[in-house]
């Protein structure tokens, strides 16, 4: 066996606390992307933003759901950029609807896209492209209320030999992107399995990236399966270990989705006073996610636990 090349490389340790990560990277007025498509929603990070009282954020999130409603109710959000505003299949987002439908207690700016419109904005952002073309929006009313969605003429003739037009969206480059993942090493190599969504692109599009994980693991765990790394260390600024930090969403292989919580949210959020009481009790009234979890109780956590279904390992091979 030869000497390895330049081993060991000292990698910076980016682990920190949620409090410090949010304080360091989420500033008033910033554009903050929180992504995770139903799976691995960075809820605990959203709660910490509320605890720290951030204001005037532009929040980008494809599926604006409970954590978005909470951030809006927490007074943190001036503008929302999204392609779906709803409480999954479980009902409505009370605060979001009030803000948009009645402007009470204050209006919410809303920038509407389709899912692929948001995806292409992140793709353009990650690739530092001036625009990204897509075959949606033709004939839709959405461009009439969102002047960011424009048209380009292709420099190649269309299938009929005539000039071809296509809609484009502009890049989205968040000041900070926050994602939740199953695991990362201390340097920030982040591994996700199950639904991987738009996390890689949202991270690469951002100026700063906070990764919240179920577990910070040994380097060797990550390095046993480098194809599992969805966001490499060079794109990550802070790693926060926060078990069950996606609740009420799920983390594949760690815990299941809390369907009761989703169904309950429609009732909580329908009444602005009840919603504020909920935030006071569960978010502003808890010091951190560990306290939130303690309040949730072990029984609820037990209910969401999952059994085992292990992947078959693959051989990466070793030169002999």
């Amino acid at each position: 066996m030869h000497n390895p090349v330049a081993e060991p490389v000292r990698r910076p340790d980016k682990t920190t606390t949620m409090r410090e990560a949010i304080a360091a990277h989420v500033t008033d007025g910033a554009t903050v992307a929180l992504e995770g498509f139903t799976h691995l929603i960075p809820t605990a990070a959203g709660h910490e933003i509320i605890r720290q009282g951030r204001r005037d954020l532009t929040v980008a999130r494809m599926t604006a759901d409970i954590v978005t409603d909470q951030l809006i109710a927490g007074g943190c959000v001036r503008k929302l950029v999204s392609s779906f505003v709803g409480n999954s299949t479980a009902g409505s987002l009370g605060e979001l609807r009030r803000r948009i439908e009645t402007g009470q207690p204050e209006p919410l700016e809303y920038e509407e896209y389709s899912h692929y419109g948001m995806i292409c904005r992140y793709l353009a952002g990650a690739q530092r492209l001036p625009f990204y073309p897509l075959r949606s929006y033709a004939g839709s009313d959405v461009p009439s209320v969102n002047p960011g969605i424009r048209k380009v003429t292709s420099p190649y003739p269309g299938p009929d030999g005539e000039p071809e037009q296509i809609y484009v969206v502009p890049p989205l480059n968040p000041d900070v992107t926050i994602i939740h993942a199953q695991r990362a090493d201390r340097a920030g190599n982040t591994q996700i399995w199950g639904l991987t969504g738009i996390q890689a692109e949202a991270a690469y599009a951002a100026r700063k990236v906070i990764v919240v994980v179920e577990e910070v693991v040994a380097d060797e765990v990550i390095r046993s399966d480098p194809n599992r790394t969805v966001v490499p260390a060079h794109a990550v600024d802070a790693v926060v270990e926060c078990p069950r930090g996606a609740h009420p969403a799920f983390a594949q292989g760690y815990y299941d989705r809390d369907g009761d919580f989703y169904r309950g949210w429609s009732h909580i959020s329908k009444d602005p006073e009840r919603l504020q009481r909920w935030l006071d009790e569960w978010v502003r009234g808890t010091a951190d996610h560990a306290e939130y979890l303690a309040k949730l109780g072990t029984e609820a956590q037990q209910r969401l636990s999952v059994g085992e279904a292990w992947s078959e390992p693959v051989n990466y091979g070793r030169r002999q």
């Binding site: 439908e101 959405v142 199950g194 991987t196 969504g197 594949q252």
Partner: protein, 259 residues
């Protein structure tokens, strides 16, 4: 297993699922959400379209769920599935890549050309009701070969003369916007009163079948525009014994969606 179910009266969900499933004969790839569309595709897999594959908006292909899924992203869809795609791959390579034969969509409103509104009731800038918005509906409409819409309630508010807002346009609106459409747009609308159909660009929806006991006048009165009626109007065959048995015993034994 709910063995006594076969003797119960046919519910509206069973009717819609059975009717929709039959339309999937010969199809390979279906983009569907949870609920009625899943029931329809699951039934089709057991009857007219054994090879039909559901692609979920979450990125799951070839799901083999151990339990009936509660959302399109349910963990039971992922464990044991054949592939999980990232969002750029799902929307870019599969949907916009033209790999979907049939997309299933719902909407708050559909107009005579099969254009859909899922954004707002009222004015977009000061809406009476803020709805969820497009999600992936705009992409399903723009890129699937054809789209089936299931409307649980056939009334003039859901099928209006004019949409409050067009979220997901059919091919005729795309053409007027100067862009050549790819798919046929909405080809089937399955409602609690019957089936509306159109073939593609330039055609409006016309009534092609009514459920047993429903009259043409009833359907036209429940439609917000002057609904055209096919020359050869059919009566929808109600769910067969076999379809009901499969739906009740195999597909949704706990009647999660067969409510």
């Amino acid at each position: 297993m709910n063995t006594g179910a076969n003797t119960a009266a046919v519910t509206s969900s069973e009717l819609l699922a059975a009717v929709a499933s039959r339309e999937l004969a010969g199809k390979n790839t279906v983009f569907a959400g949870i609920g009625l569309p899943t029931l329809a595709v699951s039934l089709a897999q057991l009857t007219v379209a054994p090879d039909v594959e559901i692609v979920y908006e979450s990125g799951v292909c070839g799901a083999h769920p151990s339990h009936l899924p509660e959302t399109i992203a349910d963990s039971v869809l992922i464990t044991g599935s054949e592939a999980v795609l990232s969002m750029p791959a799902l929307f870019g390579y599969v949907l916009q890549g033209g790999r979907i034969d049939v997309g299933f969509l719902g909407a708050a409103q559909i107009d005579r050309w099969g254009n859909l509104n899922s954004s707002v009731i009222g004015d977009w800038h000061a809406p009476k009701v803020r709805l969820p918005g497009s999600g992936g509906a705009m992409e399903v409409m723009a890129n699937s070969r054809e789209v089936f819409v299931v409307m649980r309630r056939h009334d003039p508010r859901s099928l209006p003369a004019e949409l409050d807002f067009c979220t997901s346009p059919g091919p005729d609106r795309a053409l007027r916007d100067g862009i050549r459409p790819r798919g046929a747009g909405v080809t089937r609308v399955i409602t609690d009163l019957g089936i509306l159909a159109r073939d593609g660009v330039g055609e409006e929806l016309r009534l092609v079948a009514t459920h047993p006991g429903v009259t043409v006048e009833q359907v036209r009165a429940a439609t917000g525009w002057d609904l055209a009626v096919a020359d050869e109007l059919a009566t929808v065959e109600p769910p067969t014994e076999a379809e009901l048995r499969l739906l009740r015993a195999e597909v949704d034994p706990d009647r999660v969606y067969l409510r």
